[in-house]
């Protein structure tokens, strides 16, 4: 291994040599710079390899031939190797990125850059306090120098503000170091840590000295409120420099604080955590109203570092895992933030909306989303594993308030980052194109690659290899589509369908009956829905990775054995579906609200699992049943709320209508018919394992019952008043999920069976209806139902699908919806709760209203003039509908094929109250039902009467509408009298008050408050360097006061 000192020596030698070159030899100087940085990266990489693969031990590097603590020593260990590698690579890539800029500055500018990188390495490596100070000063001066040399004029004032604060900081640091030296007699960090333990308690001088050092180094981490200068730098410096500040400088400073905490010991941890969490929350809040990309990234950087500081401050709890978590978060942050800053250099203008310029470049969009996913700790990136560990251990240690704050901050962060992503895909791209020089693209490319590689690495480090998400077959399959995205859509579609079907047949023996049904819907159901995607032309960039990501998530969810797998799968399906939804033309705000609700729900699930596990890992799902009674109800509440976010229970439902309605034609059935079942699956799992729980004497399943009933009622009611066909179906889904939840919450055998019945039914008919309506919307160019009408003749197949669909949805015999209703009645008879039934009874007939409206307004009534040439929906959209019709009839006829095994499986949970299956007859404790007989009787009567009518009325011919009214001479007028708009006006008069958008207003007000708070509070940063100095001093005094 090359001596780690070469990291410092090489950079210094190179920068001195650069001084020898004549200013004209810029090419050579640039080559020297790159080679030096590459050499440094190689040294770090070599060490990292030796530690990780070769199992090498940390090495002490002595200088001056004397042993520490008498001479300065450096240390190269696993963490140091990783961090220096990170720093050097950032430096190397930034140097590459900075090509023109460095050529303009000449050899001296390059030397400054080299020294900066060297200084960051030095901060990481050194084990001597004063040496740390020297490296910090070097870093500060070279940083200020780089800023001074930035092209943006405003960077000047930012750099000066930075210098002002760093003057204060270095004064405190120096005094702290010297008094600490006086108290302990050493400058060596490790020796000082030992001697500090030996000092008598109340060694006032040392504590104060430590406080000064601590506050100084922490200020380098840009804590709130002493961070105005940092944001100004981030906003104004050249993006490649910002990448260095954000990735490399932060890495170094964090490690320095960590070393310092080694001296201070556990009593300083709470202070670190407190500063960290405050910074994390405040910075995220301030980022919310930002419109400048670089400033927003600055706030995000500050927030991330705050979070890592929290992790460092929790070392007493996290113990060995601290570095896994902290470095996991750190590399995610560093790679992503460097990548984003590099990207920002490609975009010509500074408003977030101008990033829409990236849209024409799929790779850059992919890079962006990779970085955002890393920042928001989504799987399969390192931050995800880190987040999981952190939450698990915080919950295990009972630090729930901190946990809650972290999750709130993370949600806000996801909010502004994904909002930005929405802008990129959906806003009008600016006229300025993205600059596409190769040397600027390479760093971005490397960062993306590094992100995925780190994801793999962290998965590998996370303990058992089983948990490496990037080894999970479904995810690999999904990610594979990224590489195949250049293929035409139909090829990818075939691949996707084949893969899903094949995976099902490879694994179907592994599921219990309940999971088998979900697997069937997710895989085979998904494959059927995908048939509609053959209709798409071209490449359809981005569709298949997203769709397969969602499918992969759902499959992994069903197959999850422990809470980690379950949660990872949950996040995967969430982001996959988010991408899918975002593809819709006008879906930007809806996709965002979907994602935020989903992530919020996911965080609740995360917290629930973590509290349940109490630190145990791995925590099998089945162990939810053994959670301590004092915690169980809380776990129940968290998990149930999380899952109900996905099923859009009332109050948490506002994301659904927009998301489902604005999605593309073939996406709506996927996210509605299939994805919603993931939430139900979660609820199934929850109730199967935890059963009934009481909180303060309230039966929680009873609460669920009420929620479910209101969800069913209000979902249906809101569907009634929609003019938009897809929104109508979306609201109907809310209602249907209410029914399913109701069944589950009944906590009896038939209730669960009913829920399952709804799972299957809803999958079939909602997929079918969304496809039909989507096909119609595609042909007519509108989703407003009152703009349609009379399409029955033009689109007969779609009509048949809708007709069958609405009969099934409404529960009218003989189709399968009736089975659900029948089981429902039997189930409620076995239940003790009676009041919520009233609500759900009311919900039932309301369904007729919207269903009739759907079919009437679209297919019946009068045809609009402009739609006279409309054709039937495309073949590939009709085909799955017809398959669904077949499925629906089959399921109506012989529900036993699917339900029977589940029924007996449910005996495990509720031995009482099952069904008896005898031939075609199904008997419960209360009643009986023979679907085949019903079907035959109805069919016979219907056919006989139809035949009779045909016989007596065989010569009927089709005439124009109003033929009779106007005595066969209807005066032709282009405007029609299709009664469709505000169809249920009287109903709105009577019950409209129930559907006031209370929930929407509530969430809207909440986000408004957050925005306003952020907007008001950020005025704290008034741009005056002296104010920033005041902030710093206030910070010092307040922290000192708190420390007392």
């Amino acid at each position: 291994m090359p001596n780690a000192l070469y990291l410092i020596v090489a950079a210094l030698a190179a920068s001195f040599v650069l001084g020898l070159l004549s200013p004209k030899r810029c090419g050579i100087a640039y080559a020297i710079t790159l080679v030096t940085l590459a050499f440094m990266a190689w040294v770090s990489a070599g060490w990292l390899w030796a530690f990780v693969v070769g199992g090498a031990q940390p090495v002490e590097i002595l200088t001056a031939g004397a042993l520490p603590p008498y001479a300065i020593n450096l240390r190269m260990g696993r963490a140091e190797a990783a961090m220096t590698l990170l720093i050097n690579l950032t430096g190397l890539l930034s140097a590459l990125y900075l090509k023109e800029s460095l050529f303009k500055l000449g050899h001296r500018g390059m030397a400054v850059l080299l020294v900066a990188i060297m200084a960051f390495c030095g901060i990481v490596l050194t084990r001597d306090l004063f040496n740390l100070f020297v490296f910090f000063e070097l870093a500060a001066i070279s940083t200020a120098g780089l800023i001074l040399l930035s092209e943006d004029d405003r960077a000047l004032s930012a750099g000066f503000k930075y210098l002002i604060v760093s003057q204060f900081v270095s004064t405190f640091l120096l005094i702290g170091i010297l008094f600490a030296y006086h108290a302990t007699g050493t400058l060596n960090i490790d020796t000082m840590a030992t001697s500090a333990r030996l000092l008598q308690v109340g060694a006032q001088g040392f504590t104060l000295a430590f406080f000064l050092m601590f506050i100084a180094l922490v200020t380098e981490l840009k804590p709130f409120p002493a961070n105005g200068w940092a944001l100004d730098i981030y906003e104004s410096a050249h993006p490649a420099y910002s990448a260095i500040f954000s990735a490399a400088a932060a890495t170094a400073s964090l490690y320095a604080v960590d070393k310092l905490l080694l001296i201070g010991g556990a009593s300083w941890y709470p202070m670190a955590s407190g500063i960290g969490i405050l910074t994390f929350l405040a910075a995220n809040l301030f980022a919310l109203p930002q419109s400048n990309d670089r400033r927003l990234l600055g706030y995000s950087s500050v927030a991330q570092i705050g979070l890592i500081l929290v992790v460092l401050g929790q070392r007493d709890l996290l113990g060995e895992s601290t570095s896994f978590i902290a470095i996991g978060l750190l590399v995610s942050h560093a790679v992503a933030k460097a990548g984003l800053y590099w990207l920002s250099g490609l975009v010509q203008k500074r408003n977030l909306i101008d990033w829409a310029a990236l849209r024409g470049h799929p790779f850059l969009v992919f890079a962006f989303i990779t970085f955002v996913a890393m920042l928001t700790s989504l799987p399969p990136f390192p931050g995800f594993y880190a987040k999981w560990e952190l939450v698990r251990m915080l919950a295990g240690g009972g630090r729930l308030a901190l946990l809650a704050l972290i999750l709130v901050g993370a949600l806000i962060e996801a909010g502004y980052l994904f909002r930005w992503f929405g802008y990129i895909l959906k806003r009008e791209p600016p006229t300025e194109a993205v600059s596409g020089e190769v040397h600027k693209l390479v760093p971005v490319f490397v960062a993306v690659l590094a992100g995925w590689a780190l994801g793999y690495l962290w998965g590998d480090l996370s303990g058992t290899g089983r948990h490496n998400l990037l080894l999970a077959l479904p995810l690999v399959f999904a990610v594979g589509f990224l590489l195949l995205d250049w293929l035409p859509a139909w090829v990818k579609n075939t691949l996707a369908i084949t893969g899903m079907v094949a995976f099902f047949f490879l694994t179907y023996t592994e599921y219990d009956p309940l999971r088998l049904i979900f697997a069937l819907i997710f895989l085979i159901g998904g494959a059927i829905t995908l048939l509609a995607s053959y209709d798409a032309h071209g490449r359809r960039i981005g569709f298949y990775p997203a769709a397969m990501l969602m499918v992969a998530g759902m499959v992994m969810l069903v197959r999850a054995k422990d809470s980690f797998e379950f949660f990872a799968a949950w996040e995967l399906l969430t982001i996959g579906s988010y991408f899918l939804i975002l593809r819709g033309k006008h879906s930007e705000p809806h996709a965002l609200s979907y994602l935020l609700f989903s992530l919020g729900g996911a965080f609740l699930i995360l917290a629930g699992f973590a509290i349940a596990a109490q630190g145990v890992a791995p925590f099998p799902i089945s162990a939810l049943g053994q959670v301590a009674p004092s915690l169980a109800p809380w776990v129940f509440v968290l998990l149930a709320t999380g899952f109900m976010t996905k099923t859009a229970a009332i109050g948490l439902h506002i994301w659904l209508p927009g998301a489902h309605a604005e999605a593309e034609t073939d996406v709506s059935p996927m996210v509605s018919g299939i994805l919603l079942k993931a939430g139900l699956f979660g609820l199934f799992v929850l109730l199967m394992t935890m059963g009934k729980q009481q909180l303060y004497g309230i039966e929680l399943t009873h609460v669920l019952l009420w929620i479910a009933a209101f969800t069913a009622l209000l979902g249906n009611l809101m569907a009634v008043f929609q003019e938009d066909a897809k929104r109508l179906l979306a609201y109907s889904s809310i209602g249907q999920m209410g029914y399913a939840l109701f069944g589950l919450a009944l906590m009896n055998h038939l209730g669960w069976l009913m829920a399952l019945m709804f799972v299957i039914n809803h999958y079939i008919y909602k997929s079918m209806l969304f496809l039909s309506v989507g096909g119609v919307a595609k042909r007519t160019g509108t989703r407003e139902m009152y703009r349609m009408g009379g399409l029955i003749r033009l689109m007969p197949l779609s009509f048949i699908a809708v007709l069958i669909g609405i009969i099934a949805v409404s529960g009218v015999p003989p189709l399968s919806g009736f089975g659900g209703r029948w089981i429902f009645y039997n189930a409620i008879l076995a239940s003790d709760y009676r009041m919520p039934m009233v609500i759900i009874f009311l919900a039932g007939p309301v369904a007729f209203l919207y269903l009739f409206r759907l079919i009437h307004s679209i297919f019946l009534g009068q045809l609009k003039d402009e739609l006279r040439r409309v054709k039937e929906a495309p073949f590939w959209i009709v085909l799955p509908q017809m398959l669904y019709v077949g499925l629906l009839l089959a399921f109506a006829l012989v529900p036993g094929l699917v339900l029977r095994r589940v029924d007996s499986y449910l005996n495990l949970f509720f031995p009482e109250g099952g069904l008896h299956w005898e031939g075609f007859e199904i008997t419960s404790d209360y009643g009986y039902w023979n679907p085949v007989a019903i079907m035959i009787v109805v069919a016979v009567i219907f056919v006989s009467l139809f035949a009779w009518l045909l016989f007596v009325n065989r010569r009927a011919q089709k005439v124009k509408q109003f033929n009779i009214v106007f005595s066969a001479e209807r005066p032709y007028r282009p405007e029609t009298t299709h009664f469709a708009w505000n169809f249920f006006a009287p109903y709105r008069k009577a019950l409209g008050f129930l559907v006031q958008p209370y929930a929407t207003n509530f969430w809207g007000t909440l986000t408004d408050i957050l925005h306003t708070a952020g907007d008001l509070a950020r005025r704290l940063y008034d741009g005056n360097g002296q104010s920033y100095a005041f902030h710093f001093l206030v910070f010092v005094v307040v922290v000192f006061g708190m420390g007392l």
Binding site: R793, V812, L945, P986
Partner: protein
């Protein structure tokens, strides 16, 4: 499972009896109403005459498939409802096809005809049809609610959903009828009954052109004939359900005729007393008066 083929002729017999009873009953009631209004009213056989005339006339037009099918849906709904419920208690001959499903089947099958009819009417393209459907559906959401609550209450009371079993539990004297054992449920159900019969004061649904139940303006000739048939069957079928649930069922045909007639008369009398409600008024009325009764009946069972 062995299917008893004899059920088919027996069911047809029931159907035959009920159709005739229905024809005469509606005519009779119309006559009573006329007499109350000091008019002569129709002849008691008038319905037969109308029906034959309608079947006899030949239509040569249709407005489309759903228009064509709507009467079929409608009548299938009526016939099905009748046949899914046992007519005469204790008689296997007139238990019809009730083996196919229980009370819930009957409750939900009610909508089969309604739905088909609404679709057919809507295809005619006449705005009034759509308005009628809009009103009807709006009203039904709350008028059905007390019935559902009452049914739930009754099912809870007898621990069964089987109509036969419910009737069986009411045997042995009229004091065992649900009417007396669970009066609140019956009250709620009867209020719902008023709404579902589309008689005053809840007949605003019919106001525009009286379309959804077979208006002469649109449906004519054989279409109308089918619907007229249904008009004879459907109310009876519905009353049979009520009778079975609340009034002890019927052990033989005379009792059947009497009970059906009396229950039918309830709706007639109420209609004389109240003026017509607007839709939102009737919705409020049901929510304020009928639903609480239903809720009480559930709580007290």
């Amino acid at each position: 499972m062995q299917f008893d083929w004899m059920k088919i002729p027996y069911s047809l017999l029931t159907l035959f009896i009920v159709v005739n009873f229905g024809m005469i009953l509606t005519a009779f009631i119309a006559k009573i109403a006329a007499r109350v209004g000091r008019r002569n009213g129709i002849r008691i056989w008038q319905n037969y005459a109308d029906l034959i005339k309608s079947y006899g006339s030949r239509s040569s037009i249709t407005h489309g498939a759903m228009f064509y099918l709507a009467p079929v849906f409608r009548l299938t709904g009526g016939v099905g409802l009748l046949l899914f419920v046992p007519t005469i208690y204790g008689s296997s001959m007139f238990s019809n096809l009730s083996f196919a499903g229980d009370l819930i089947l009957a409750l939900y099958f009610v909508f089969f005809g309604t739905l088909g009819m609404a679709l057919g009417a809507a295809e005619s393209g006449h705005p009034h049809a759509a308005i009628g459907v809009s009103r009807g559906l709006s009203q039904v959401t709350t008028s059905e609610l007390p019935l559902a609550l009452a049914v739930y209450s009754v099912a809870l009371q007898y621990h069964t959903l089987s109509v036969t079993a419910i009737v069986a539990a009411q045997q042995g004297g009229f004091e065992h009828w649900t009417l007396f054992t669970n009066p609140l449920a019956v009250a709620a159900a009867m209020l719902a009954f008023l709404g579902s019969m589309m008689r005053p004061p809840f007949d605003v649904v019919l106001a525009p052109q009286e379309i959804p139940i077979g208006p002469p303006t649109e449906y004519h000739s054989s279409y109308l004939a089918l619907m007229q048939t249904n008009r004879a069957i459907y109310p009876i079928a519905k009353i049979v359900v009520y009778m079975n649930l609340f009034f002890g069922g019927a052990g033989n045909w005379p009792v059947f005729f009497l009970k059906v007639f009396l229950i039918y008369m309830v709706s007639v009398f109420v209609g004389v007393v109240f003026p017509r409600f607007r839709v939102e008024q009737s919705i409020r009325w049901f929510l304020i008066w009928a639903v609480p009764l239903g809720i009480l009946s559930i709580m007290l069972v």
